[in-house]
């Protein structure tokens, strides 16, 4: 026995080229849509991963302390302010803190640097807690210091280049005339770490004759409320807080313009697909007026005809949607590359992430849009009166 569903299918096959073109339209807009959804999801993930790689999300510094190494160098190390190392333990108490590390920044004047001498930046770091903050550090050769008071240094890529040092060489701390042994040289990171010389915290404190620190790096627990922690840290006396979530927000703002652009393209794509569906289905309804009239003389109710035409829309959108998602999955890599070209800042890793839930969501939206566009043709078909349609043909 024949079902209305079969009738709908066979009708779509009647004008194969027209049906195919409509399908292609739906497919393309599904493709754009699912890629966009995937991008919205993937981009933020990738950006978060990048921020993660910066090491700590928060830095606490003594008030007035210039937190950029560049500033520190410009001031020739004179403007440095210090805080008690015990502060680290106080902050550790906060529930949101995942990892924490004390840092002592020092700048020494090196008369041999450049033509008239220059400033060399030293970071006193704790070998127990600092490496965990920078898990993405890769050593070109060597590794971290043995312990917190070893007479050793790890050199950033550019620092090692500048001083022409290899692992095993000795290096002299200017002003202080202390010899330290190079135990590791880092790969290039593209950050200011490249120009830094890392020394065990205790060693640097001994050399500089200071028992305090300048900076505390803080990694916040996953899903913890960073703003809440920031506010608590602001309560501490004589410190200032620098947050990378602010940096992230800035980047996010930057890309939201790009996102709006892509979104409007997607909306236009959907509208075009919908117009295509309306056109196809309406045309086929108008062509079939006498046939639809005959269906009514057979006992089909207006609702039956409505459903028949609506089913055609559903089939178009279902097939087009599934094909579009298939293509999106197939060419996700290509979309990634394309998006990377448009964006002002693209983090590393997959930008367009499409999973099952997302595919279903997109399919749902496309089918919903399709059903919406099928509403008018289906309603029009349902209202056809047998007599008019048959006479018009007569």
């Amino acid at each position: 026995m024949i079902t209305p569903f079969q009738v709908a299918c066979k009708n779509l096959l009647r004008k194969k080229v027209r049906t195919l073109l409509t399908l292609v339209g739906i497919m393309l807009s599904t493709w754009v849509l699912v890629s966009l959804f995937g991008f919205n999801r993937g981009y933020e993930k990738a950006l978060n991963r990048d921020i993660e790689n910066m090491g700590y999300q928060l830095m606490v510094m003594a008030k007035g302390c210039p937190y950029e190494a560049a500033t520190m160098m410009l001031q020739g190390g004179t403007g440095l302010r210090y805080m008690e190392q015990s502060m680290v333990n106080d902050i550790m108490e906060e529930a949101e803190v995942d990892k924490i590390t004390p840092i002592l920044m020092q700048a020494f004047f090196d008369p041999n640097k450049g033509e008239s001498g220059g400033i060399a930046g030293y970071f006193g770091v704790d070998p127990d807690s600092y490496p965990a903050m920078k898990p993405f550090f890769r050593f070109r050769s060597g590794g971290w210091f043995r312990d917190n008071s070893a007479a050793e240094v790890v050199m950033g890529y550019e620092a090692a280049e500048l001083e022409q040092r290899e692992v095993g060489d000795m290096t002299l701390v200017p002003e202080k005339n202390v010899q330290l042994k190079v135990v590791g040289i880092l790969e290039r990171t593209g950050t200011q770490d490249d120009g830094t010389i890392f020394v065990p915290l205790k060693t640097l404190q001994r050399i500089a004759e200071i028992d305090k620190i300048t900076t505390i790096g803080i990694k916040v627990k996953k899903d913890a409320d960073i703003t809440k922690l920031e506010n608590k840290l602001y309560q501490l006396k004589d410190v200032q807080v620098v947050s990378f979530s602010q940096v992230k927000q800035t980047i996010m703002k930057l890309i939201s313009t790009a996102r709006v652009m892509v979104l409007s393209i997607a909306i236009v794509a959907i509208l075009i697909a919908m117009a295509g569906v309306v056109n196809t289905v309406l045309m086929s309804v108008l062509e079939r007026m006498p046939e639809i009239g005959i269906l009514k003389t057979m006992g089909a109710m207006p609702g039956d005809i409505f459903r028949l035409v609506w089913t055609e829309t559903l089939i178009l959108c279902g097939i087009g949607g599934v094909a579009g998602i298939g293509f999106a999955l197939l060419f996700a890599r290509g979309t990634d590359l394309l998006v990377r070209r448009i964006l002002p800042y693209a983090p590393s890793g997959g930008l367009v992430v499409i999973d099952g839930g997302l595919a279903l969501l997109t399919l749902g939206s496309i089918v919903a849009a399709g059903l919406l566009s099928g509403l008018y043709p289906a309603w029009k078909a349902g209202r056809v009166r047998p007599l008019e349609s048959i006479r018009r043909d007569g």
Binding site: M1, I2, T3, P4, Q6, V7, K10, N11, L13, R14, P290, E291, G293, I294, L295, K296, T297, M298, G299, A300, M301, P302, D304, R383, R385, P386, L387, I390, R391, D393, G394
Partner: protein, 231 residues
């Protein structure tokens, strides 16, 4: 036909007025007639005399402008009240089967599927076997899986007849069923209709320009300017 035969269709002063701008066309002008169960009534008359309009009113395809229509004693039209599409559909699928000059087969469906199509929307109990039975009766069993483009005009009208009968209607309404057929095919369709009327007691209301065909029925009505005259 005996006098006891029940009246299935009774029209009283049935009128249908078309308005074209300010002009009024009384396509059917106060027609009163009764059709009994098992009758084969033919309507003849010049073009534009209102045959199609009248038959459409009798077949509940259209609302009259005035007058009354009873179906098996039940009032369908009357009192100036119009029935909506759903109500009309409900009446039609219970009582009528229709065939037309243009057969209106669905070109994408096979012969068998075309005949079965009405059952997708409405199905009287026990009619499932009718598809095959009717097609066999009309000599179409060897064409069941053909598409409409693959069969002749006479065969198409047979398929349309099978489709009209699949839900076992009481009355078959035929508006110029042979208008698109040559004399030989027209004769064949005429014979089929006559057999159906004689053997199964199907009531047939037919419009035809063809005098031979029109005379097949026991009763001939002539339409002229919207009025009906028994001959």
């Amino acid at each position: 036909m005996t006098t006891e035969s029940k009246v299935v269709l009774e029209a009283r002063d049935l009128t249908r007025v078309y308005r074209r701008g300010s002009e009024e066309i009384r396509a059917v002008d106060g027609v009163s007639l009764a059709i009994r169960r098992g009758e084969f009534v033919s309507f003849m008359g010049p073009s534009g005399s209102g045959k199609t309009t009248l038959v459409n009113l009798l077949g509940c395809l259209d609302n009259p402008s005035a007058g009354e229509l009873d179906l098996a004693g039940r009032g369908i039209f009357g009192g100036g009240k119009k029935l909506d599409e759903r109500a009309l559909t409900r009446v039609r699928r219970e009582v009528f089967g229709y065939i037309f000059q243009n057969f209106y087969l669905i070109p994408t469906l096979t012969v068998r599927e075309n005949v079965a199509l009405p059952l997708a929307f409405y199905r009287k109990p026990g009619v499932e076997a009718e598809v095959e039975r009717l097609l066999a009766m009309l000599g179409m069993e060897h064409r069941m899986d053909h598409l409409p483009v693959q069969i002749s005009g006479g065969e198409m009208q047979r398929v349309a007849i099978a489709r009209a009968l699949v839900n076992r209607p009481e009355i078959l309404l035929a508006d110029e069923p042979t208008g698109n057929l040559d004399t030989k095919r027209a004769g064949e369709i005429g014979d089929i209709l006559q057999d159906l009327n004689r053997n199964t007691g199907l009531t047939i209301v037919m419009v035809s320009h063809n005098p031979d065909l029109a005379r097949l029925g026991g009763r001939l009505v002539e339409m002229r300017d919207g009025k009906a005259h028994e001959i």
